[in-house]
């Protein structure tokens, strides 16, 4: 059992931050790695990339948006409650190195995943430029944290309610036009966002890493639920990833695979909402 030591609602209660007591995972976790959670006995195993870890306090942070039954169930957990299973740290850590100028692009709850990675690139001595985006101002998360680990910082909102009106890719394109010293772009967010970040950078020939949070079951390489086509080859996101060269990823296939259980997910969520009433 893994006790929740802190719970925080974010982005107008659409996003939830849980600090979980998991000392061994906290000690080993590195930026880019994820955990699998199973909330209770009937729960499914869901992968969530860690937004942080505190080896001294023995805690890990997960930040998630309620998108279906499992995340809705997790959100009903309060401080003091315990999650039945937490498995990790899983996946390969981000390859962090000093390159020069690095642009970190985050969207939605992807910003939470991007934060420890951005910090690591900053700490190793890169000039870090961050672009974070949301649909609207109220949905933007971790602005202060991201700003704190960036040398330059930009915000975009789809509706123009805050920062620049437009998509993260608009800001990215301008930056890439303006400066020629960008060595790496890291894009983490919804699959369509990552796809378009990659499309944008491809023109400039700049290496772009993305983090794929696919459907998983065991998440240790045993089942292949998480497979994605990268560079024409099948890769398992759980053990070969979660980070890949975005220019090699078949995003269209990935989107279809992510939608494989939409019907069941809807059925499960509606059932849960009825039970909650």
């Amino acid at each position: 059992m893994f006790k929740i030591v802190e719970k925080r609602e974010m982005a107008g209660n659409t996003v939830c931050h849980l600090k979980i007591d998991a000392p061994l995972i906290a000690k080993k976790a590195q930026p880019g790695q994820f955990v699998v959670l199973r909330a209770n006995e009937t729960g499914e195993r869901i992968p969530l990339t860690m937004a942080g870890n505190d080896p001294a306090k023995g805690t890990i942070d997960i930040i998630f948006q309620v998108v279906g039954k499992s995340t809705a169930l997790l959100r009903t957990f309060n401080k003091g409650d315990a999650i039945l299973d937490v498995i990790g740290p899983l996946g390969k850590p981000t390859h962090v190195e000093k390159l020069g100028t690095v642009i970190c692009v985050g969207g939605g709850t992807g910003i939470a995943v991007l934060y420890p990675i951005t910090r690591a690139f900053k700490e190793i001595g890169n000039h870090v430029i961050s672009i974070v985006g949301a649909r609207t101002k109220d949905l933007l998360i971790m602005e202060a944290e991201m700003k704190g680990v960036s040398d330059e910082f930009f915000v975009t909102t789809d509706d123009g309610s805050y920062g620049r009106h437009g998509f993260v890719t608009d800001a990215l394109k301008d930056l890439l036009d303006a400066r020629k010293d960008v060595k790496l772009v890291i894009g983490i967010g919804p699959i369509p966002m990552m796809k378009f970040v990659c499309k944008t950078t491809e023109v400039y020939g700049i290496k772009t890493m993305v983090s794929l949070n696919t459907i998983m079951v065991d998440a240790t390489g045993m089942c292949g639920a998480c497979r994605a086509t990268v560079g024409g080859k099948t890769q398992f996101c759980c053990v070969d990833g979660p980070e890949f060269d975005g220019h090699q990823v078949n995003f269209d296939e990935l989107m279809k695979r992510q939608a494989a259980y939409l019907k069941e997910e809807r059925q499960s969520y509606e059932r849960f909402q009825k039970e909650q009433r």
């Binding site: 009937t42 499914e44 065991d218 292949g224 499960s268």
Partner: protein, 473 residues
């Protein structure tokens, strides 16, 4: 001699089982097991050979004539205890061991008649004891003060843990998943091995003093070196084979195409067959193809039927003679309505706009000269391509070595396929104090072979642990 002739006249007793039409739509166990009367009748067929061949065929050396004799005499609990002297998981083995190619294949009765149904009797004795409620614990010797870490709670790890704890060692199993049993829980379906039986066998080991830690992916949360640093004197790696193999043919990442590992894990471990009571979903196919001819393929095909498929085809590139599955499994599948497409090989998958599989292009094969495995090599038949309409495919063509653990143990020798190099007699690896057994050494094999490996390693590890100079740390 007169005695022997009389015994041979009792026919081998069949096990009562669920009607195929009924059972192909439920997840309850297929056979009901022997009644005490049937068990005694079957046990009485045993000739009680002075030099029993059957025992030689058992990877863990169960004293078969002795336990069978106890059943014949009506001492069912005594029979169960006799079994447990050599086999920590008799209720499991009675169900999933390939007895027809092991103990039963060597039975003298089998020369003229059918062999004694050793597996059915083993299952009967273990079930009888469990149903009685109280399973007595053997006397455990005083603690040796030695700590053993077992990685993986599958058949190899459970067997080894039971053996070592009974010798007074302190045993901790580190399991990556949230439930114990390894392939017994994620792989083998409920209708072939009810999970309550695995739980009972694991519970017995825990009562003996084995500690099990769940959600520990060794190689990630802790390394083998860290286990030694924590005070473990020896480590056993029984992590199973792991990575599913795909055919790498076009369209294989369409939705509705599963590895057998994923399909069975969803259904068995995550209980997707009870969706939405359980949260994990599983795609329900109307027209299902299972690629491969092993026991796992049979389990997948039979699961698909139970989930509601209208047609299920086993697509296998060789002929019925080469089918690697146990005859009983293939027979059960056939009885339930699974259809076999022998000498057929998939070439590519066809999908719709949503990315779901709708068809599978196949090619007919014919058998050529024997290959290195001794089986006749399937060769493509010209102009034989055809399309099979399918909306769900389970790829069940084997597994490869999972590198999570093997890649994090420095100086651990691996073979060219990534499996651990270990002495077949002892499980000893290239790293001192590290032993390995089961599928991570041999590649995909059977439950009982993994148990045999666990048994062998437990003997070697016991010797290693008791040799003080090895474990002064």
């Amino acid at each position: 001699m007169a005695e022997k002739e009389k015994k041979e006249k009792i026919p081998r007793q069949p096990m009562p089982e669920q009607d195929p039409k009924v059972r192909s739509r439920n997840f309850e166990e297929v056979p009901y097991g022997y009644t005490p009367e049937l068990a005694q009748k079957e046990a009485n067929r045993c000739l009680q050979c002075k030099k029993p061949k059957c025992t030689e065929g058992c990877p863990v050396g169960v004293k078969i004539p002795e336990f069978v004799n106890l059943i014949a005499g009506g001492d069912f609990i005594g029979a169960a205890k006799k079994l447990k002297e050599d086999n920590s998981l008799p209720a499991v083995c009675g169900r999933v061991c390939p007895q027809e190619s092991q103990c039963e294949s060597l039975c003298i009765l089998g020369k003229k008649d059918e062999p004694v149904a050793v597996g059915r009797l083993e299952r009967f004795a273990a079930d009888y004891e469990r149903k009685q409620g109280t399973v007595d614990l053997p006397q455990i010797p005083p603690s040796t003060g030695k700590k053993v870490a077992v990685v993986g709670s599958g058949p190899a790890g459970l067997t080894l843990a039971g053996d070592l704890v009974k010798q007074g060692h302190q045993v901790t199993i580190f399991e990556a998943l949230h439930k114990p049993g390894g392939v017994l829980v994620y792989g083998i379906p409920e209708f072939r091995l009810p999970k309550a039986i695995v739980d009972a066998e694991v519970d017995y080991l825990q009562r003996l003093g084995v500690e099990i830690k769940y959600n520990y992916v060794i190689g990630k949360i802790l390394t083998v070196d860290e286990l030694f640093a924590m005070g473990y004197h020896a480590v056993f790696l029984g992590v199973g084979a792991g990575l599913p193999v795909f055919m790498n043919i076009p369209g294989e990442n369409l939705c509705g195409i599963y590895s057998a590992n994923e399909y069975l894990t969803r259904s068995n471990l995550m209980k997707a067959y009870l969706f939405p009571q359980y949260d994990t979903p599983i795609a329900v196919g109307k027209h299902v193809a299972v690629i491969g001819g092993g026991n796992v393929a049979m389990d997948s095909a039979r699961t698909a039927l139970r989930l509601g498929a209208e047609t299920v085809h086993i697509v296998y590139r060789r002929s019925k003679t080469e089918l690697p599955a146990r005859a009983e499994e293939a027979h059960h599948a056939e009885q339930e309505g699974v259809q076999f497409k022998f000498l057929t090989n998939p070439l590519r998958y066809i999908g719709n706009n949503d990315g779901w599989v709708t068809g599978m292009e196949c090619m007919e094969m014919e058998l050529g000269e024997p290959d290195e495995s001794g089986r006749r090599r399937p060769v493509p038949k010209k102009d034989s391509n055809f399309i099979l309409d399918v909306d769900l495919v389970v790829v069940s063509i084997g597994t490869g070595a999972n590198p999570i653990i093997t890649g994090t143990v420095p100086n651990l020798e691996l073979n060219k396929w990534g499996y651990i190099v270990a002495d077949p007699e002892t499980g000893k690896t290239s790293r001192e104090g590290v032993y390995a057994g089961g599928d991570i050494v041999t590649g995909s094999a059977t439950v009982i072979l993994a148990m045999g490996a666990g048994r062998n390693s437990s003997k070697a590890m016991h010797e290693y642990l008791m040799n003080k100079s090895n474990t002064v740390a």
